[in-house]
């Protein structure tokens, strides 16, 4: 039986891990050399964060798990990332918009965790927030430049925004785990970040001359609790293939 704290750690770890995995798919195929390097750098930062979160989660689980058994030997129903990060890369506009929406949230979420009563969590947040602040600066800048670039880039960015927008809702929906973490002074109330997120995103989209999708509409959720889209199982099948086919091997 995993504690709420353990599941809380898995949520942060899985968000970082799955998004890093998606970005890794793109490595070496970017639209420009500098961009390729920058995106790979983001993938590396996220992977580093994932390792810290998962190692701490493994420690909390106390059942002999480690970062690798958590990454490689859990099934999709045991993953706790939000649906946004498992969405396929699509075109480069989709990859960037997904990253922007996530970075804007992660930057706020990690800032909240800086004040966590849990010293180990606050320490990870302190390292990660510096990286994520830079990611957000970069993606915000690109959203502006591509939104306000050519007609074509504007259309691609707007379409990506429409496609990914529904997935932002889940970032702000709390559950019993969140409530327990808030009560313990460890975590934050997800809904409390919504206004700041919306206001930041609105400002960037306005500068990018992109239209913020209308409020309401489809709001898929369930990733945090382990109920995912069809995409996650495939992603894991690829990611986990070697440890699954060579049980017990060390790499």
């Amino acid at each position: 039986m995993r504690t709420a704290r353990c599941e809380y750690l898995l949520r942060f770890g899985d968000n970082a891990l799955i998004l890093s995995q998606r970005l890794g798919e793109r490595c070496g195929k970017g639209p420009a050399l500098e961009e390729d390097m920058a995106l790979t750098n983001t993938a590396l930062d996220l992977l580093g964060q994932a390792r810290l979160w998962l190692s701490l989660a493994a420690e909390a689980a106390g059942d002999g798990a480690d970062e690798d058994t958590l990454a490689y030997l859990r099934d999709d129903r045991e993953f706790h990332n939000v649906l946004l990060v498992e969405q396929p890369n699509g075109g480069y506009a989709d990859t960037l918009v997904r990253q922007f929406l996530f970075d804007a949230w992660a930057s706020l979420a990690l800032r909240q965790l800086l004040g966590s009563r849990d010293a180990a969590i606050a320490a990870i947040a302190e390292k990660a927030v510096k990286e994520v602040s830079y990611h957000l600066r970069r993606t915000s800048d690109l959203v502006v430049r591509l939104g306000d670039g050519t007609e074509r880039s504007h259309a691609l960015m707007q379409a990506a925004l429409e496609a990914l927008w529904p997935y932002h809702h889940e970032l702000f929906i709390g559950d019993a785990v969140d409530a327990e973490m808030v009560a313990a002074g460890i975590g934050f109330e997800p809904a409390s970040l919504r206004d700041a997120w919306l206001s930041y995103v609105r400002e960037v989209l306005a500068e990018a001359s992109l239209t913020m999708p209308a409020a309401g509409g489809w709001a898929p959720k369930g990733g945090k609790q382990g109920l995912h889209s069809e995409h996650l199982s495939r992603l894991l099948a690829e990611m986990q293939v070697l440890p699954r086919s060579h049980p017990g091997a060390r790499w």
């Binding site: 891990l17 995995q21 890794g24 798919e25 490595c27 070496g28 195929k29 970017g30 639209p31 420009a32 050399l33 500098e34 961009e35 390729d36 390097m37 790979t40 750098n41 993938a43 590396l44 992977l47 580093g48 994932a50 390792r51 998962l54 970062e67 690798d68 990454a71 490689y72 075109g91 480069y92 502006v144 430049r145 591509l146 306000d148 670039g149 050519t150 074509r152 880039s153 691609l156 690829e238 990611m239 293939v241 070697l242 440890p243 060579h246 017990g248 091997a249 060390r250 790499w251």
Partner: protein, 328 residues
């Protein structure tokens, strides 16, 4: 320098000889040639060819290893591999920049690659079939690359030499990481050890081919050596690679796939079997297992990214116009 030569017409052969003699003297004296210095057109062209080919190799070289990023079997190995592939992109960047100092644009070089006019190292046209191939590339391919590139840190062209210093430091790291990966497999399960041996079997000969044709058949060697943009011959470097690698393979408990390989005490080197040069020339000509796929992947990435690059240019122009309007 281009413009100056056009302006003055074709110099007499005596002028060329005098200039070239001074140029060669500088090289012989160990003084670096810098972008603003006069240089013979053949030197410039040879260097553009050599440096851009090297840059393209770094960029295309991202693909075979990148193939395993999503399937790396531990998070630590995944981080190492991501960082490595990113380093290769960085090397491509320095090298394109070094080549640009010779008066060619990066876009032109990329276009030459995509049109099939420019080459890249033949090794990257082989497939990475298992995880052990990632280790074999680090150990053997980066090992060969270092062998070739360390002397280039002392080459006559300043920007290239300086780029090589940083590239070599990182490559040395990659080689150790590749070897460490192979070591983990060699000490692992029977299936892992078999994977490592299979990778060595497939990468050994292509790695030796990386140094290029035997000295007798190498058309550019003599001039490049005089210009100090090539400091050792292909065969010298190849021998060094074999001598260095054999004990490493023994330490891994793996067998080098060459029945003729044996220590020659008289020469103080390992003798090794004949290389299949037909295979090498065939791969260089475009008929390797992955030539088409590699080039197609690069072309697609470039074509798919066109809107992105165009948009950044368009935005910069808009921003400049807005700034100008504001100032007016």
């Amino acid at each position: 320098m281009y413009a100056q030569m056009v302006d003055t017409g074709t110099p007499s052969s005596a002028t060329i000889d005098a200039r070239e003699a001074r140029f060669q003297q500088r090289i012989d004296d160990g003084i670096r040639i810098e972008p603003q210095d006069w240089m013979p057109e053949r030197y410039r062209k040879t260097l553009i060819r050599q440096i851009s080919q090297h840059a393209h190799s770094e960029i295309v070289g991202q693909l075979p290893e990148g193939n395993w990023i999503t399937r790396a079997p531990s998070l630590k190995r995944k981080a190492i591999l991501l960082a490595k592939v990113q380093d290769e992109a960085g090397h491509g960047l320095y090298l394109y920049s070094a080549a640009e100092t010779l008066g060619i644009s990066r876009d032109q070089m990329v276009e030459d690659l995509h049109a099939g006019r420019a080459k890249y190292s033949s090794i990257f046209n082989y497939p990475t079939l298992t995880w052990a191939d990632v280790g074999a590339i680090g150990w053997l391919v980066d090992g060969s690359a270092i062998m070739n590139q360390i002397p280039l840190c002392r080459c006559s062209y300043g920007p290239y030499a300086r780029a090589m210093i940083r590239v070599c430091k990182e490559e040395a790291f990659h080689m150790r990481q590749g070897y460490d990966l192979m070591l983990a497999l060699a000490r692992g399960t029977a299936a892992q050890k078999a994977m490592a041996q299979d990778a060595l079997n497939r990468w050994w000969w292509p790695s030796l081919m990386m140094f290029g044709p035997p000295d007798g058949d190498s058309v550019h060697s003599a001039q490049s050596q005089a210009w100090k943009i090539k400091l050792f011959t292909n065969d010298e470097l190849r021998q060094k690679m074999v001598d260095q690698t054999v004990p490493q393979a023994e330490h891994l408990g793996l067998t080098i796939p060459d029945p003729d390989l044996k220590w020659n005490a008289e020469r103080g080197h390992y003798d090794f079997g004949a290389i299949d040069w037909d295979e090498f020339y065939n791969v260089v000509k475009g008929n390797g297992p992955c030539n088409r796929e590699r080039l197609e992947t690069r072309r697609k990435a470039w074509d798919d990214g066109e809107w992105f690059r165009d948009a950044l240019v368009a935005h910069a122009e808009k921003a400049a116009q807005r700034a100008a309007a504001k100032a007016a």
